[in-house]
């Protein structure tokens, strides 16, 4: 199921004569993989989300797509794999493999600016940028409960919001409510 640390193919190998140029085929392959939508947040592509790690054209013309899960138990991985295979099949590509890697561990900081904008438009408050990993700070999370700074409501823009539940409809989200417009909204948790 998971093959951590298998080094992804990062450079296109020679493609067979008469086919696409190696550079062209790799960027085309990347474009196909990058168009696949996340099944849970269908406004985001897997590229926006930062889970598409690599697309390589391997000797002989096969394609190796490498993706990483947001959370260890993310149930969407199998569905994303089949969506990737379907997207390549539709574009006329054969011999496509999808591999899962765990390292380096995904972080919400990999969500692109475009992805963050789309999330907010979709009604999901984007994650706060983590910058330094708080696990690196000795005692940084000992004893007391972690604080999340208040979020801006993606519906009305008010900063007057509160957390309703630390866990939401999927592993990657928590549930919030806006005190101004009274609308509940999802927040993409920063990890």
């Amino acid at each position: 199921m998971v093959t951590p640390l298998r080094p992804p193919v990062t450079h296109p190998a020679e493609s067979p004569a008469g086919r696409r140029t190696s550079d062209g085929s790799t960027s085309e392959a990347w474009g196909i993989a990058a168009s696949v939508l996340d099944p849970e947040v269908p406004v985001l592509t897997i590229e926006d989300l930062g889970i598409l790690r690599d697309v390589g054209v391997v000797p002989g013309g096969g394609v190796l797509v490498t993706i990483t899960p947001t959370y260890s138990g993310c149930p969407a991985m199998e569905s994303i794999r089949s969506d990737i295979l379907a997207a390549f099949a539709e574009a006329g590509w054969r011999d496509v493999r999808v591999e899962f890697v765990l390292a380096p561990a995904w972080t919400t900081d990999w969500i692109s600016d475009e992805g963050r904008r789309k999330l907010e438009e979709f009604g999901i408050a984007p994650p706060v940028r983590r910058g330094l990993d708080r696990l690196d700070h000795p005692g940084g999370s000992s004893g007391s409960v972690l604080l999340t700074l208040s979020l801006r409501c993606p519906q009305c823009g008010s900063p007057d919001t509160r957390e309703l539940s630390r866990f939401g409809s999927t592993a990657c989200k928590s549930l919030w409510v806006c005190n101004a417009c009274r609308e509940p909204f999802d927040h993409f948790k920063a990890i």
């Binding site: 199921m1 998971v2 951590p4 640390l5 899960p69 959370y71 260890s72 138990g73 993310c74 149930p75 890697v101 765990l102 390292a103 380096p104 561990a105 995904w106 696990l135 999370s141 000992s142 004893g143 007391s144 409960v145 972690l146 309703l164 539940s165 630390r166 866990f167 939401g168 409809s169 592993a171 549930l175 948790k189 990890i191």
Partner: protein, 257 residues
């Protein structure tokens, strides 16, 4: 493969399987809370936490299975082993009690796992390290969630405080088993692949006693229970848990869905 390599693989497989079974069995037990927790939000929370643990279990089982001869899949290991072949501690298999017990177990388990995975992120084993790097972020969030409940219920009403203390007293005899490193091969620890769980105890005690003090609860002074989970000796409740977890796969061998 030389005899030494083969022995190392066996001891590594046993070690990884122990980690996997703690995660798998606690995920299965915690999943029973879905639709039974005191609040809808808590159904979702415990369901999500169980899902994280299940994800960790899947990675660990897959790795453990890759080390055995012949190679076994995660499903072979989860569904086709019998009770005596499971290596999890008793704490995670015990039948669910009230919500206070669930909160105490989650605090104990997540505090232990956080210390464990944090150290395994620098394991010399290049499969364990990335699994741990992923998992440590997840269990840190679980610990945070458990802490919030312990503070709220411990430093709550007379009733909630009494039930939290009762839950602590009931679960505490099963804490020692987490830190008994008898099942971990010394060579693995010396080589930097595995962690001797006994070394996690001081940090665990410090964190737990901080939380309990803030929650006006006391660390129980009780004798450890007789256990043996790391050697396949389980409680009566384990059989019922496995029956539920395994019956579908065993009734329809090879089925996929």
């Amino acid at each position: 493969m030389s005899t030494t390599d083969s022995r190392t693989r066996d001891t590594l497989a046993t070690y990884v399987l122990s980690l996997a079974d703690d995660a798998l069995v606690s995920a299965q037990r915690m999943g029973e809370w879905i639709a039974s927790a005191p609040q809808l939000e808590e159904d979702v929370a415990l369901g999500n936490i169980a899902l994280d643990l299940l994800g960790q279990a899947r990675s660990l089982l897959t790795y453990a299975g890759s080390l055995t001869e012949p190679v076994l899949t995660e499903d072979d290991l989860a569904y086709w082993r019998d009770e005596r072949e499971f290596r999890n501690v008793h704490l995670v298999e015990r039948a669910n009690g009230d919500f206070g017990v669930a909160v105490v177990r989650l605090l104990v388990l997540s505090t232990y796992l956080r210390e464990l995975y944090a150290r395994l992120t620098v394991s010399t084993d290049e499969t364990l390290a990335p699994i741990a790097a992923k998992a440590v972020k997840e269990v840190d969030y679980h610990r945070d969630h458990a802490t919030m409940w312990v503070l709220r219920l411990g430093d709550g009403t007379e009733e909630s405080r009494a039930r939290m203390q009762a839950a602590l007293d009931a679960e505490w005899p099963y804490v020692a088993e987490l830190f008994d490193g008898g099942y971990v091969d010394l060579a693995l620890v010396e080589g930097g692949a595995a962690v001797d769980p006994a070394q996690l105890r001081p940090a665990f005690d410090r964190r737990i006693s901080d939380v309990l003090a803030e929650a006006t609860l006391r660390v129980p002074d009780v004798r450890p229970a007789v256990t043996g989970g790391r050697h396949g000796v389980h409680t009566e409740q384990m059989g019922y848990l496995l029956a539920e977890m395994q019956h579908l796969a065993r009734s329809h061998p090879g089925a996929s869905w």
